[in-house]
Symmetry: C2
Subunit: 135 residues, 2 copies
């Protein structure tokens, strides 16, 4: 297990974290995500952590960092599927994941991203190249 | 790692296999999927194996079995993200995964499932209970 797959779902990317994120894996994920964001022009990243029973401060920091990278690449990050125990631990650790949106499941996360896109006026169709010049 | 998460994406379920499927894990996945199919009334299952570098005969059999279970529960299974080397191995092993549809990525897999639904006349809205009797 040397890589976490990043799946393209329409306009968004989905990352399902199933294994404990160690140092190298977190770095690889950041690299892969940056490349995929730049290649696909995705506007949102969904990170599913429903398989994680424990989120320690390293994973919390890694997630915050990934969200930061996505933000500077013009994509919104939504963390989905957090277990109740994980939520308690994160707050107890003093990591309330500020700046990362959360949703209870992938469906709700996608709805959140779509709404965010519409609010931000990102609902124009995707196109390649520069927009046509105004006459 | 004792469980593979099953994510609900609209009408479909998505299973991302990232770790080597051993005996117990495959059984748990089958159980979980059956329960989720019965609870969500999902019409399609996407199994993403883009993280798998090797698919041996055990995994091949497990995937075929999962597809069989989904079929009797009235859902279509699409295997997505297969690596070229894995495709070669599967055919060499004599397991061409008959009866399982494949697609190159999740987006294409979802399109395939939607088309299959429309062809099969599954595009009516979901409802609970029996259809109204004809007058």
């Amino acid at each position: 297990m040397d890589q976490i797959p990043i799946l393209k779902l329409g306009d968004f990317l989905l990352v399902t974290i199933q294994v404990e994120l160690h140092d190298q894996l977190a770095m690889t994920l950041q690299d892969d995500l940056t490349q995929k964001l730049s290649r696909t022009h995705a506007k949102g990243v969904l990170i599913d952590i429903s398989a994680l029973e424990i989120v320690d401060s390293f994973i919390g920091r890694s997630l915050a960092q990934i969200a930061g990278i996505a933000r500077v690449m013009d994509a919104t990050t939504v963390l989905v599927g957090m277990r109740p125990a994980v939520a308690i631990t994160l707050v107890e650790l003093g990591m309330p994941l500020k700046g990362i949106r959360t949703a209870l499941n992938v469906d709700k996360g996608m709805k959140l991203l779509r709404n965010a896109q519409e609010e931000d006026g990102f609902d124009e169709p995707a196109f390649e190249g520069d927009p046509p010049l105004a006459p």
